[in-house]
C-alpha cells in the first residue's frame, strides 16, 4: 500500500503533473470543511439553519470529490478519490489550518466560514478563467455555490455582530481566535508560487483587494472593527497541522483503516 509509506504524497513520481499537489490541496480543504460542517447535522441552532449548514457541507463535499477525482487522474497511479481521502495521514493532508478548526459555537463556525468563503469565492473566480480546462470547469460549477455560501456567512456575521450583546461578545471572541488562520489562505507556499509563475493558479495578491473590500463592508455592517496586524499562523498547506486534524482524520478514516480494501 503506497499510502502507508512515509514519502509525502506530494513528492510522487518525478513526472507527476505540477497541478496534482495543488488540486489535492483544494480537495483536502473542501473535504475537511465539509466534514466539520457535517458535524452540525442534527445539532443546529434552528431547523432551517440545520438544513442550510448541511447544504453547504454537501456543496463542499461534492466539490472535494471532483477535485480528488481529478487529482487521481493527474497522478495517474490508479488511486481513487477514496484512497486519497481515506488513506493519507495528517502530515500528508494539505488543507490550511483554518478549515480544520473545531466548530466551537455558532459564532466560530460563522467566522471560519466567512473567512474561507471570502477567499474561496475569489479563488474560484480566478480558477474558472484559468488555462486548465478541467480545473476551470470544477471552479465554474463551484463558484455558484461559493457565492451563495459567502452571502450566507456574510449575513450571519452581520446578524451576530449587530444582534444582541451576547452574540456580539461571542463573535468578537471567535474573530479573536480565528483571524490568525486567515493569512495562510492567501500566502502562497513554494509550490503555489511555482504554479502562479506558470500561470496555472491565480496570483493571491491580486485577490486581496476584493477580499479586503468585502470584509470591510461586512464588518462595517456588523459594527465590528476589522482586526489589524494579526499574526498569520501557517503550516497546514505544508502538512504541519494543529492537533485537531489528527482526531478528525481518525474519525473520517475509521472504516477504511479498520477494514482495508473493501467496497462499501
Amino acid at each position: 500500500m503506497s499510502a502507508t509509506q512515509p514519502e509525502p504524497a506530494v513528492a510522487a513520481a518525478p513526472t507527476a503533473n505540477p497541478l496534482f499537489p495543488f488540486v489535492l490541496q483544494l480537495a483536502d480543504t473542501s473535504l475537511i470543511l465539509a466534514h466539520r460542517l457535517s458535524e452540525w447535522c442534527g445539532h443546529g441552532p434552528v431547523l432551517e439553519q440545520d438544513l442550510a449548514l448541511a447544504n453547504i457541507a454537501l456543496d463542499l463535499l461534492g466539490e472535494a470529490r471532483s477535485y480528488y477525482q481529478y487529482a487521481a487522474e493527474l497522478e495517474g497511479r490508479g488511486r481513487t478519490e477514496d484512497d486519497l481521502a481515506y488513506l493519507r495521514s495528517a502530515v500528508e493532508y494539505r488543507n490550511p489550518l483554518l478549515v480544520e478548526q473545531p466548530n466551537g459555537d455558532f459564532a466560530y463556525t460563522i467566522v471560519r466560514q466567512f473567512l474561507f468563503d471570502n477567499f474561496h469565492y475569489q479563488l474560484l473566480k480566478g480558477l474558472k478563467d484559468g488555462p486548465d480546462t478541467q480545473l476551470a470547469a470544477i471552479a465554474e460549477k463551484s463558484l455558484k455555490e461559493a457565492a451563495y455560501h459567502l452571502k450566507w456567512s456574510s449575513e450571519w456575521m452581520i446578524r451576530l455582530g449587530d444582534g444582541t450583546p451576547e452574540s456580539r461578545q461571542r463573535l468578537d471572541k471567535a474573530i479573536a481566535t480565528l483571524w490568525r488562520f486567515s493569512g495562510e489562505l492567501t500566502t502562497p507556499t513554494a509550490a503555489e508560487t511555482n504554479l502562479q509563475e506558470l500561470g496555472l493558479v491565480p496570483d493571491y495578491a491580486a485577490l486581496l483587494p476584493a477580499m479586503q473590500a468585502h470584509t470591510a463592508h461586512v464588518l462595517a455592517e456588523a459594527t465590528v472593527p476589522v482586526p489589524e496586524g494579526v499574526f498569520a499562523q501557517q503550516g497546514g498547506k505544508s502538512g504541519r497541522h494543529s492537533e485537531h486534524l489528527g482526531y478528525l482524520l481518525t474519525e473520517l478514516q475509521y472504516m477504511q483503516r479498520t477494514y482495508p480494501g473493501l467496497t462499501w
Partner: protein, 95 residues
Amino acid sequence: MNNSEWPLWEVFIRSKQGLDHKHVGSLHAADAAMAVQNARDVYTRRLEGVSIWVVESKHIHASNPDEAAEFFDPAADKVYRHPTFYDVPDSIKHM
C-alpha cells in the same frame, strides 16, 4: 432580549419559467431576506424551483369557511359562462 420564536412565513415557488408561483409550505425566519434563503435551503433542494416568494403568514387574509356558501355557491348555476353550455353544429370548425 427577544425570546419569541422567529415569525412564520408562507413560501411560494415557481417550479419553472412560465408557471405560477405555488404555495409549497411554510417556515420560520427572522426577516424577509432570511426567509427567502431558508426557503431556498428547505424547499428547492431537488431543483423544485426557479423563483421564490415569501409572505409573512400574518399578512395573509383568507376567506371565511363559514361564508363559503354565499361566496362560492352563487357561481354554481352560471352554466352559461362555460363553453360547453353552447351547442355548435359539428360541421362548424375552429370554434
